[in-house]
Symmetry: C2
């Protein structure tokens, strides 16, 4: 293997690989040079990544080397181009006045990088990123039950819908879908990690088999194992069926700023109360030891409203998908959930549901 | 107490107080409003801080309140001005549409904020910041022996000299001094934390008594307890007496960049070798498992040089005070220390000494 390539392009590709697969098998990355360019591939027991990048290939070949030192070396180089050559038992990275030699690892003990599952259909890259970022925040990060760490993705007449819940809140986002049927439960953290990458591509191709989901955008692809557990669909859907006793519409950012200012007074449980609903929304927090806060946010109000208490950070997560826009908040009686919605934006319709707390 | 003040000014003052005194007595800050403005004071068992800020005072008075929530509230407010008023058992912070109430703490149980030690002399703010930042990096952060966490500061005919060492490296900086004698051992982390603040002032007034050092700049002041341990002066001074077998001069930043690129190959001990010294400096690192690196940095060389091995991070610390400038590196025989110097810049002369490693 012998090639010349842009340092910035290779640095970005290896940095992406290290970020998306923090613990690849043997800590290694597989480089494959062909007439078409350079493929950067890495695999973990339940994930696989493949990126293709342009390179001037002087001699075909492949090399398995430690991913992190390669990524660090490329990131720190200020030369515009690098030469990457296999020399005996080393992969050598050369730039003017500098030579870095990484030990070649044994290709035979590295697990094969699996093929992608069969194609199901495609979706806009930016729309899928928006949907994933809106929904993933409602998934639990470290729940004992894996279902609450997943994003359910399914297709129907409305398009591709993503749904996640950790029991206390739930988020749904629907995007336009072009293709056949898909119905999977994928890890939320994996989808979030990929969102920046596929968000820049015009379209993302999705495919699945019984236990894997594949995503491909431009020359890049990622395969992840599915969470093989039944999702509480019916209970989740019930959460989203609102019979609002009253609604309020306001700037999401104005309410988020007020919630952040209320947090120092929100006590050990981090709770705030939304109240008043009389041409304005009152944001209240109080703690016997920490003091009290009271703020007024301008809002359009209709119907009859009481006051409800929430975890401040859940409300902040619920407002994030509506940043820079007006959001509609539908409050229901008693401890029935509060629903955050807005008209579809950029082909993505988001609904966020937060369960109030017993006071 | 009742006053109106700029939100940004009060937010910056309380943020500074929270940064410089992360654990003030009872978690509190003492606000004192007089015709002259607002004083923000905090005390810990071995430290005290006082900042004075302009405010339009409607009624004199003082209030002891929790520092952190006050700082957070002021930071998050977007109103240009705040009204700060004592109302019964609360300190109330008001802005349009918002009211925040902090519980008043019992002034009687708060330790008194001590007066500053007597004045010894003064030094330029920017010069002292440069000297502190150059020297503090050579102090240990968590040594069992407190002497290695301190900065020795003393005056003589050359000016005010700061010195710190953790045994493996040592840094000295001398700045112009206007005043009497001073000879103290102060905690390095305290001086580093203050450097950004006093670095912006035209001059810093220093004073000391038997067990405290006081620093005052503009309307602000800080008092810290001294480290009451004998400093190994004679041994430290010996380190700085170089009999170089050869010297090399080069751009500090070029060598620092090469050292960072060598780090992934520097093995578990993080060592690099400087070698060659033949119109150029070679930077080498190698590790049986991680691979090898070799880089060339342009340098002016005189005398006879061998190769020496160092901890890469010690070299990076040694180069930092010379960033953006050429540095002179004096190498000595065997394991005798290597000396980094440059002509005085901005009234500050820095010498950094690093002991090579046995290979």
């Amino acid at each position: 293997m012998d090639l010349t390539a842009s340092t910035a392009v290779l640095a970005a590709a290896t940095a992406d690989a290290a970020r998306l697969l923090p613990a690849p098998a043997l800590g290694g990355v597989l480089l494959t040079a062909t007439a078409e360019g350079l493929a950067v591939a890495a695999a973990a027991p339940d994930q696989a990544l493949r990126l293709e990048r342009p390179a001037l290939v002087h001699a075909d070949g492949e090399a398995l080397v430690p991913l992190r030192p390669l990524a660090e070396t490329l990131r720190a180089l200020d030369a515009e181009e690098v030469r990457v050559v296999v020399e005996e038992s080393r992969l050598v990275v050369r730039a003017p006045g500098a030579r870095f030699a990484l030990p070649l690892m044994d290709r035979a003990v590295h697990p094969p990088v699996a093929n992608a599952p069969p194609l199901a259909g495609s979706v806009g890259g930016r729309a899928l990123r928006t949907a994933v970022e809106a929904v993933a925040s409602a998934a639990s990060r470290e729940d004992a039950l894996p279902i609450f760490t997943g994003v359910r993705m399914w297709t129907d007449a409305e398009g591709l819908t993503l749904l996640a819940t950790d029991r206390y809140r739930m988020a749904l986002a629907t995007v336009d879908w072009d293709g056949g049927t898909l119905d999977v439960l994928a890890p939320a953290t994996v989808l979030s990690g990929l969102a920046r990458g596929f968000g820049a591509a015009p379209s993302v191709v999705l495919g699945a088999d019984d236990d894997r989901l594949g995503l491909a955008w431009g020359p890049d692809s990622f395969v992840t194992a599915l969470l093989a557990v039944p999702f509480p669909d019916e209970r989740a859907r019930q959460l989203a069926r609102a019979e609002p006793s009253g609604t309020v519409e306001l700037e999401a950012d104005a309410l988020a700023a007020a919630l952040r200012r209320a947090s120092p007074y929100a006590g050990p449980r981090g709770t705030v109360t939304l109240a008043g609903w009389d041409g304005e929304l009152r944001v209240l927090s109080s703690d016997p030891r920490g003091g009290e806060s009271e703020q007024v946010v301008k809002a359009g109000v209709s119907g009859c409203h009481g006051s409800s208490t929430y975890q401040a950070r859940y409300l902040l997560d619920a407002l994030k998908p509506f940043a820079g826009r007006r959001v509609r908040i539908e409050q229901q009686e008693g401890l029935r959930p509060t629903v955050f919605t807005a008209p579809a934006d950029g082909g993505v319709a988001v609904t966020y549901v937060v369960v109030p707390m017993r006071v």
